[in-house]
Subunit: 208 residues, 3 copies
């Protein structure tokens, strides 16, 4: 399998960090709703922004998690916590407009990048698809559990993990065909597009 | 220590996968009770069927978890989720008859296999006994936590972790005596037998 | 970076094990409050006494967790569970006097030792500070989550994670200056001193 193109990887890094910032700020927003102190903001920001990747890298066992090897990750997550602590972003116009886009784009990017890293580690298509989804939705799941909520991703909300599944599957198919770079781009397009559509039209999965 | 006999390992693999299927279906049963969507069924099936082994292998740090290296595990867990989503097994005669046996046999098999893998990794008897128990009861514990319940295994239910403790201890003693294969067989017999007896006679541990 | 002095490491090992014992007993105390059985005592003792180090070592991916390589850890945690099961320590004078000291000293020791191990693994100052804090407060956080409580460390209680942050930062500064041994001693002094002061004066972080 050829390696992904470096300029695309550079672009993806910015998308990745934007997702960390946005999700860390969301962690801060829920920390305020739960009346937590700055430690609570920081912990929920790290879990929300970095949790999915930490779980993926812990399972992959191919060295310490990416979030511990590059200080930009932890610093970005803490910046998100600080912003959310100092400014009440929730309910504001900027946040309400920007968040759905950050959420959707980072879901696609994280699902694609998680799946690609799994393939690069030498594992097969099925764990790649699975760990792509884990990268995208794992942090939010753990955040919900810490706050004593049944994870929203498990039911009763518009499609979300399903969009991550589509994104990571897209990456795996493209990578198997020899086009990992195209796969990363398409994973973002597919993941973000589906997430925005699902949110707008309130698509939900059927219950049994 | 001699390696375990391959025909016993083959048999154990089927017992293992039957345990994954049964526990994944149980994950689906509790997903329906919590009114989750198909994503919730899949996540709880994976946690219930594969969670204990994932925790064990993450702690052992001897390469990626077995459940990620052999697609049969994830596919079996997802099959369990699908069956539980499509068919309301709970309350039915087949499930009510089969589940206690699957539960009991897989508890013994998982406890024994987890202990043996820990010994094979080069760790001592105490972590082997402990990780055998974790393999057997870890997935159910995490499933309970995700659903905001104090894990049933921690109290107020018939002996369960104690049966896993007996099974993993049996394996460790036999393996130290040079009979890992016999240990695996005896672990299943001891773990399953105790679990079935404890359930029938409602044996419980004393409170303090 | 020079290695830490071995006599200080020996002393730290005893502080470490005293912290494991004390925190394991605390795990037993909350197990009784939750009316759990002996399995619940053992699980909460292991989580409380060993959880932070297990999370750190799992993230570091530099071999199996220390708690699995040296039987003294698991045995000490189980001893704490057994004592708490047999003797109702809570409310007694000895416990009420000793616990704040064990808690404070082990917080400083764990934060310092966790940060030093992270540096020794080759990671940078930021993950070292972070994993020092995780070592000190991670076990208590997981224990709270298992018992369906929002972790106390996230808010509405006197400074705690902040004291661990001061202790692990102290270690990192000293180690970078070439004095890891002094750093370990100062981490205990700073961490324990701040924790005791914060508890006495009920220092709390401001809410947003």
């Amino acid at each position: 399998m050829p390696a992904a193109d470096s300029s695309v990887l550079d672009a993806l890094r910015w998308v990745d960090l934007a997702g960390v910032l946005g999700n860390a700020m969301l962690g801060g927003v829920v920390a305020r709703a739960a009346r937590l102190d700055p430690v609570g903001f920081a912990v929920l920001a790290i879990i929300s922004g970095l949790g999915g990747g930490l779980i993926r890298d812990t399972l992959l066992q191919a060295g310490p998690p990416a979030a511990l090897l590059d200080n930009a990750y932890i610093l970005t997550a803490l910046a998100g916590a600080a912003i959310a602590f100092l400014v009440q972003v929730e309910g504001g116009r900027t946040w309400d407009r920007a968040w759905p886009w950050i959420d959707a784009v980072s879901l696609g990017a994280w699902a694609g990048a998680g799946a690609l890293k799994t393939l690069d580690t030498g594992l097969g298509w099925l764990p790649a698809v699975l760990l792509g989804v884990v990268t995208a939705v794992g942090g939010g799941m753990v955040r919900d559990i810490v706050l004593r909520q049944v994870p929203a991703v498990l039911g009763s909300s518009p499609l979300y993990a399903t969009c991550a599944l589509a994104a990571s599957s897209t990456l795996v198919v493209c990578a198997q065909l020899g086009h990992p770079t195209l796969g990363l781009v398409l994973a973002v397009v597919v993941g973000a597009g589906l997430t925005l559509l699902a949110r707008k039209r309130r698509w939900m999965l059927p219950l049994s």
